[in-house]
């Protein structure tokens, strides 16, 4: 599976995590996550994924975007990630991920988003 293919499994992973949805219950936001060159548009409502759309969307409004290289996500999703690849901000500090746009909903729900973006770690590793 490519990193983008793994991220495409997000709806099932989040649906199975009742605690994460509970922690995100105040959250309604549209945001964009780029896995390498592939954009994903997330529609989050009360902490659940109302929609996950894969691929470019013309003039799609989004509150914020998080972009990471294929390598960044692949290594971030190791079952036990290596030092420096284990956290979103570690990836940003080493220059392989970035956060742009209105970061307020991200910072208001930061642990939720960190945990959401780490969910593909639960899929069996392949490498």
């Amino acid at each position: 599976m490519t990193p983008a293919e793994r991220f495409a499994r997000l709806p099932g992973l989040l649906a199975a995590d009742t605690d994460l949805r509970r922690r995100g219950r105040w959250l309604d936001v549209d945001c964009r996550i780029d896995i390498g060159a592939e954009p994903f548009h997330l529609v989050l409502r009360q902490g659940a994924l109302a929609a996950l759309e894969r691929g470019p969307r013309l003039m799609r409004a989004t509150a914020f975007s998080i972009r990471g290289t294929d390598e960044a996500w692949r290594r971030h999703w190791h079952k036990v990630p290596e030092p420096g690849w284990h956290d979103l901000f570690a990836l940003a500090k080493r220059g392989v991920a970035s956060m742009e746009g209105d970061l307020r909903p991200l910072l208001q729900n930061l642990q939720y988003f960190k945990d959401l973006l780490a969910l593909p770690r639960r899929l069996a590793e392949e490498d």
């Binding site: 036990v80 990630p81 030092p83 956290d87 901000f89 570690a90 080493r94």
Partner: protein
């Protein structure tokens, strides 16, 4: 059945720091060489509760851990509401020395983590002769910032929760979940703007580049220990700092992050016991 009491006791100490009256909370346990422990930014002395309850340590050391003013159960000074809290190199150094003097500690060992580690480097630079040994955890002369601290104190973001979420990434994946979340809980409990005010020292006021070259480990031995999962103070930051200090002892801790004593007490014990054994078995320099 006897009550399951832990061995440490807590008291409040009245003392002046830079001429201002303070009421400082501290806990202590054990006897022997005084070992003063400094918590990380935005946290409190509970980070050291495992050391305070470790008979292997407390049989040779009088372990003391105080809450910095504004942290834990140490209240801010009177009039705190009229200004913004900002920790500086001068005020932090003064607080540590005032605590040691108020309790009449004779040449204590000081161990600090993160900002506590950075200030330990400053103690080595400016006041080495007052201490028997210095231990800096997760410390370097300078670290590259990795987020904007403005997010830590504003009305539309919960300061405790965003602080905990930010620093959660500094904990190693191997650390036990209960210890991880206990570490995060302390961050969630910090007063408004306190973590941000501590980081003023870290980011703006406490740059020790060049100054660390003046450290003389013959006056006071210095130990640096950093967790490999700490991306705030990276292993390379600590090793770069160590290369500038002849005689320093440096160790990179495997499977540990930025909060060794609280995120993984059992693993930290493996690293700190040999350091403490070495300190207790050697004569204080120039004694």
């Amino acid at each position: 059945m006897a009550p399951a009491l832990e061995p440490m006791t807590g008291r409040y100490l009245r003392m002046e720091i830079e001429g201002i009256a303070h009421r400082v909370y501290f806990e202590e346990a054990g006897q022997g060489i005084p070992l003063v422990c400094l918590h990380t930014a935005g946290a409190d002395n509970r980070q050291y509760r495992h050391l305070l309850a470790d008979p292997e340590i407390t049989r040779r050391f009088r372990v003391l851990a105080f809450d910095m003013p504004w942290h834990g159960k140490s209240t801010p000074p009177d009039g705190w509401q009229e200004g913004e809290y900002r920790l500086t190199t001068a005020s932090y150094t003064a607080a540590i020395r005032a605590f040691c003097q108020a309790l009449e500690l004779e040449r204590p060992v000081v161990m600090g983590c993160s900002i506590g580690g950075r200030i330990v480097l400053n103690l080595a630079i400016a006041h080495a002769a007052e201490f028997r040994a210095l231990i800096a955890l997760e410390a370097a002369d300078f670290q590259q910032p990795w987020y904007d601290t403005a997010w830590l104190h504003r009305p539309d973001v919960h300061g405790g929760e965003v602080s905990a979420a930010l620093i959660s990434g500094l904990i190693a994946p191997h650390s036990p979940p209960a210890s991880r979340h206990e570490t995060l809980w302390m961050y969630m409990q910090g007063g408004p703007g306190v973590f941000k005010g501590d980081l003023y020292f870290y980011r703006v006021d406490g740059d020790l580049r060049e100054k660390v070259k003046t450290i003389d480990t013959k006056v006071c031995p210095l130990y640096l220990l950093t967790g490999e999962y700490d991306f705030s103070c990276t292993a390379e930051d600590t090793l770069r700092t160590a290369r500038q200090i002849p005689g320093v002892e440096v160790q990179i801790m495997k499977q540990v992050g930025h909060f060794p004593m609280s995120e993984n007490p059992a693993k930290f014990r493996e690293y700190i016991l040999p350091v403490l054994a070495k300190i207790s078995s050697s004569r204080p320099p120039h004694a």
